[in-house]
């Protein structure tokens, strides 16, 4: 019974939340339109959390993803404002994320600084750079090409449902593609296997011939890349960029991965569990907003839920 709660408590809680909102908001919550909406609302977080899962598999953290996301948005917006083509702006912004992540990786694996401290430092650095290059201003309006903003509003039409035209948002498609890519990477490749080995026992992994330093560096780079992608998606969604717009992503991404770890056997991060974690957070946000619950009360509820999930999952682990 204890084992059951530990393993499936979060899922059961999730289902309970779904039932609760469906009963409270029968007209608006359990509709395809709302669900597609949720996938769009959570798509940025999904991408960033997927990237976060990669480093957390090794037992590491990246606190700089929020700043990296903001910085990527700013870089892309500045380039577009300067008349560069969208593809070039996006490419450079992604590159900035990748390099920022590689810098994190170098600090952690080559220099040997604890991830918590290294990424805490780069979190402030990336944020500072975003302020410096943007002059602290929000870049919006005509500076941003219409196509860039339109992308987030677009989607693939799925036909009609209940007399309303619905479509799968482009942002959701990106999130699905990123999740699939991370799933393949972590669950289907030798690279992922090695990351899990590093997370389980770094010394044993090293002595088993795993290039721990290089793999860690790559993992942090990928997390940075995903953070930049998340930042770009955000910028596209609001058709503007400011130096703090990604700041909420970091804690939510870590929270989503942690919610996910409550569903795995030994508490290790799994990408599909992270997806559930992100959706739990997204559904809560969506449902509580629709019920007009004050946003600060919402924060309290979300925090309490995370504590509850992690507490339930350690019911049996505590006695060891």
């Amino acid at each position: 019974m204890q084992l059951f709660i530990r393993r499936y408590g979060t899922l059961i809680g999730f289902v309970a939340i779904l039932i609760f909102f469906s009963v409270m908001l029968p007209g608006t919550f359990p509709t395809a339109r709302n669900w597609l909406n949720i996938t769009q609302q959570t798509s940025m977080l999904m991408v960033v959390a997927a990237g976060m899962t990669i480093v957390m598999v090794m037992g590491d953290f990246d606190l700089s993803v929020g700043s990296a996301a903001s910085l990527a948005g700013i870089v892309a917006a500045l380039m577009m404002a300067a008349g560069q083509p969208i593809w070039a702006a996006v490419a450079v912004a992604l590159l900035v994320g990748l390099l920022g992540g590689a810098f994190n990786g170098a600090m952690v694996s080559l220099v040997g600084i604890l991830p918590f401290i290294a990424t805490l430092a780069t979190m402030t650095m990336f944020s500072g750079i975003a302020f410096v290059v943007s002059g602290g201003k929000t870049i919006s309006g005509r500076a941003i090409p219409e196509d860039f903003g339109n992308f987030a509003r677009g989607g693939i039409p799925l036909g009609e449902w209940g007399g309303v035209a619905i479509s799968l948002p482009n942002l959701s498609i990106i999130a699905i593609v990123v999740v699939l890519a991370v799933w393949v990477l972590l669950e289907q490749t030798t690279y992922g296997r090695r990351l899990y080995a590093i997370g389980g026992n770094m010394e044993a992994a090293h002595l088993s011939g795993i290039a721990v330093k290089r793999l860690r560096l790559i993992a942090f780079s990928l997390t940075g890349l995903a953070a930049a992608a998340g930042g770009l998606m955000y910028a596209s969604r609001v058709a503007s960029a400011n130096p703090v717009q990604g700041s909420g992503l970091m804690l939510n991404a870590i929270a989503a991965v942690f919610l996910g770890t409550t569903m795995s056997r030994h508490g290790e991060p799994r990408i599909l569990a992270t997806v559930v974690g992100v959706i739990v957070l997204g559904v809560l946000d969506n449902g509580l907003t629709q019920m007009s619950v004050d946003s600060y009360v919402r924060q309290v509820l979300v925090g309490a839920l995370i504590l509850l999930a992690v507490a339930a999952s350690s019911v049996t682990q505590g006695r060891r």
């Binding site: 899990y196 080995a197 026992n201 044993a204 795993i210």
Partner: protein, 506 residues
């Protein structure tokens, strides 16, 4: 208390993990004032039984009495209140706290003015606890982490002896102790016995048990096979009881002689902790490395395995230059390694058996070096496991759930999975029972028969003599001498390690 009432009695103890029985009706009866050995192979159920007594694991069924009274031990606190003390290999210690703080952990620190910790008397009390074991070389204010493993064990033991308990349960307390330290411990255990308390003693060292213990209970496959006084049983009978068959030899016979071709040679090999060392191994040869601990054995192995920066020297493998820049390069070249600490260095405990085995061979155990093929890996692991008599539910079982001997077999399976040309072994049978030891030696023999060479670092002298063809003695980072293992006696080897003349230096 009538003398006929046992101090501790645990009967009909059963416990299954995920449907796999670890104990099926074991019983254990300890009388007051005796040192009682609990014996059995790894996986026989000793650890589970101890964990149940310690209140760490809940039994499926059990009848436990202490001084004739029915009790239920549902927490470590309950065990403590009943007067049971546990000294375990993996006992909780905090290396960054002082020796005195560790000794008094979980107890009330002496106070000044009822509030401030009285450090002076804390240290004095700790000193007294250490003195009881005859230890005067440990400073109680030192950080525990600065001590050798043996000294750390002594600290733990003195902490457990601090208050008068009824029963002390010791799991392999001498694993990291020197002879002198062990002797001191035994003296204290005999004092405990004289005072009317009892000791439940778990060890794989039969000689120790024969010398120290009054009675023994032998577990096999989760059942109590026999229990009785040790005065009327022989060493060999005891071993047969444990493994359930007659023992002929402790070491499998070599089926082939070393050949002439040189597999591995090192000349002038030097690192930070290693003075220039030269050695060479022929096909099928086992070179033992003996020496006092910290004489450079570990450094030598790390240098050969590419895990240390060479300051001088060259190596060849099968005649070709060999200069590994990392353990990864060493594995690539066909050099395999069984590290000293299987939990800390050898295994990813929370991953399945097959993942541990293929971890060093993922390039070949995958499609195009990139795509995982778990089913193929599982078949491969199952085959290897069957070959070395690995006891497990299946290749997907987590290593965590295996007994120590079977965990070590997984480490060996990883090492031999790539058909290495050179196998590096460090303390390969530490904490491994008699039966699994024999299986492990057989793996080594099988490998040498195929032409591989083996370097064996071990502090187990009979093992060194039994398995090696030649033995190199290391002192202060150098190989001082190399002798033939055949016919070598243990005391000769000890003398060589201490650098005393024996008149038989080769």
């Amino acid at each position: 208390m009538a003398p006929s009432v046992p101090l501790l009695s645990a009967t009909s103890v059963t416990k299954a993990y995920a449907g796999v029985p670890a104990l099926s009706g074991a019983s254990l009866v300890v009388a007051p004032g005796e040192i009682h050995a609990l014996m059995g192979e790894n996986g026989a159920g000793k650890s589970t039984l101890i964990k149940i007594l310690a209140g760490v694991v809940a039994p499926d069924t059990a009848e436990i009495t202490v001084n004739g009274e029915r009790v239920s031990i549902d927490s470590t606190k309950a065990a403590y209140r009943l007067g049971l003390r546990f000294i375990h290999q993996e006992f909780n210690v905090v290396p960054t706290l002082s020796v005195a703080e560790n000794i008094f952990m979980g107890r009330r620190y002496p106070r000044r003015a009822g509030l401030l910790v009285d450090w002076k008397s804390l240290n004095r009390e700790a000193q007294r606890a250490l003195h009881r074991l005859g230890i005067d070389h440990i400073d109680p204010s030192q950080n525990l982490g600065e001590l050798s493993l043996g000294d750390q064990m002594l600290v733990r033991i003195s902490a457990a002896l601090l208050d008068d308990a009824k029963l002390y349960v010791m799991d392999e307390p001498t694993a990291a102790l020197t002879r002198d330290e062990s002797e001191r411990l035994f003296r204290v255990l005999r004092e405990i016995r004289a005072s009317g308390s009892s000791v439940l003693y778990v060890s794989h060292r039969l000689d120790e048990i024969m010398a120290l213990c009054d009675k023994a209970t032998v577990l096999r496959d989760g059942r109590s096979i026999d229990s009785g006084a040790l005065s009327n049983i022989t060493h060999d009978d005891l071993v047969s009881l444990m493994i359930g068959r007659k023992v002929e030899e402790a070491y499998p016979k070599a089926t082939a002689q070393p050949r002439e071709t040189t597999v591995f040679a090192a000349s002038g090999l030097a690192t930070a902790g290693l003075n220039p060392v030269s050695l060479s191994l022929r096909e099928g040869e086992v070179l033992g490395i003996a020496g006092l601990s910290g004489s450079g054995q570990a450094e030598l192995i790390r240098a050969i395995f590419g895990d240390a920066k060479l300051t001088a020297g060259t190596m060849t493998l099968s005649g070709a230059p060999y200069a590994p820049s990392s353990p990864a390069a060493a594995w690539q070249s066909g050099v395999a390694y069984v590290p000293r600490e299987r939990r800390a260095e050898g295994l990813v405990m929370r991953r399945p058996i097959f993942e541990n085995i293929t971890l060093a061979h993922l390039k070949r155990q995958s499609r195009a070096g990139t795509w995982l093929t778990p089913n193929r890996e599982k078949r491969f692991a199952a085959e290897l496991g069957a070959n070395m008599r690995l006891k497990a539910v299946g290749p997907a079982q987590d290593v965590l759930e295996l007994s120590g001997g079977n965990q070590q077999k997984v480490v060996f399976a990883k090492a031999v999975a790539g058909n290495p040309r050179l196998l590096l072994l460090e303390e390969p049978t530490r904490g491994v029972d008699v039966g699994a030891k024999f299986d492990i030696y057989s793996i080594v023999r099988e490998l040498t028969a195929k032409g591989a060479a083996v370097i064996l670092v071990s502090s187990d002298l009979p093992e060194l003599i039994g398995i090696s063809d030649r033995i190199a003695i290391m002192r202060q980072g150098e190989i001082t001498t190399t002798v033939d293992a055949a016919g070598l006696r243990e005391d000769d080897l000890i003398n060589l390690c201490y650098g005393r003349a024996t008149g038989m230096v080769a």
